[in-house]
Symmetry: C2
DNA sequence: TTTAAAGTTAACCGATCTGTTTACTTACCG
DNA sequence: CGGTAAGTAAACAGATCGGTTAACTTTAAA
């Protein structure tokens, strides 16, 4: 099933979808940019939606793998890695080909719930959250689920702020906020009442 | 320049753009749904982009006005209003016509920087942030700019989490995080070192 | 009552959309 | 060697895209 052409199509599709949106890029343009005939494209993918799904899934695996590896490599302890999330994010935001989160952008164009595209986006976010929960648990925090959910929200917010407002330093702000939340959930500390 | 038809077009455009994306909705569809002829549409707007801009600007004014009023009405003091942001957001997320933030979605489709559409989105976010800074200042927080920026990131994150993952309760999580950050920035409190 | 603006329907333009088909060329594999 | 899967270019189909035009009707103010 796999072939070099198929992968070229997926890679090209990811680039073009990121840059111009999903409805904004046609099959002809993708096939041409990937140096692949239209027929071959329809040989590998039954429809545009299937190509979109393949692009989302490939980007899911690639991005999450790179992101998690970078976080692991950026700090030695789980606690520090929770903060390293935002260092990795900051490097990402600074990339000249930063177009925000592909999955957030996809949901913006496909609002109908419980469709394959929506499910793929949900899946990505759920798995990223699971990674945060794991780190928070390893760090021995009191409420790992709560902290992980908060950090996930901070990351999402930093992404769209960097994207919409063009401020890559949103990663720094989010990191500071994360540090306060993590400190607050550290068991050895005396916790002040709500 | 203004007329009932013009406003119908804008209102219809906002609904359709939110539900199907900007590239996903054509002029014909908008005109038909608004019960307005195509000619009339092009009488009021020179191009689709001008209609998009008018829709974004109208939504900007309307949404921000409603949001700020709701926040002011939800709590009596600036400090409590900073938290009320997330109560208002939660009510918004629960709306059956919640499609995320129109401006975030717009940037996902129009990535080229320094275009009128991008500027309109930037403007919206900047003015919302200004509102948060004002509240944080009135609340007498030590670093109103920092706190406001953090709350803005938390709100953005809660929006996309509710949108992508279908969890309106992200507003609750964000609210808890905001409470910790606000407490941390309250001057009467002894602040522990970083 | 005249007149100009705002409105209508419907046809048309060239381009592009997703998807199919035809006729032909590789390249590998049993 | 012979067959099959993967590839090509290019035309085609029907729909829709953004945008224009022609001929006509409504509406409201001077």
């Amino acid at each position: 099933m796999n072939s070099a052409k198929r992968q070229q199509l997926i890679d090209t599709a990811i680039e073009l979808f990121n840059a111009h949106g999903f409805h904004g890029v046609g099959i002809d343009r993708i096939a041409h940019a990937a140096h692949v005939s239209k027929k071959t494209m329809y040989h590998h993918f039954r429809s545009k939606e299937e190509l979109i799904l393949a692009a989302l899934r490939h980007h899911d695996g690639l991005f999450r793998n790179n992101f998690m590896k970078a976080v692991q490599a950026s700090a030695p302890t789980p606690r520090e890695r929770l903060l390293a999330i935002f260092d990795v994010a900051q490097a990402w935001f600074g990339d000249n080909k930063f177009y925000g989160c592909m999955f957030i952008n996809a949901v913006g164009e496909y609002s109908e719930p419980d469709t394959p595209i929506r499910d793929a986006c949900k899946d990505f976010k759920r798995q990223l959250l699971a990674f945060f929960v794991e780190l928070a648990s390893e760090a021995g925090l009191e409420t790992p689920g709560e902290v992980a959910a908060s950090l996930a929200i901070l990351l999402e917010g930093a992404i769209v702020t960097a994207q919409v407002s063009g401020r890559p330093d949103s990663a720094r702000t989010a990191r500071h906020a994360a540090a306060v939340l993590i400190e607050r959930a550290t068991p050895s500390l005396a916790v002040e009442a709500d």
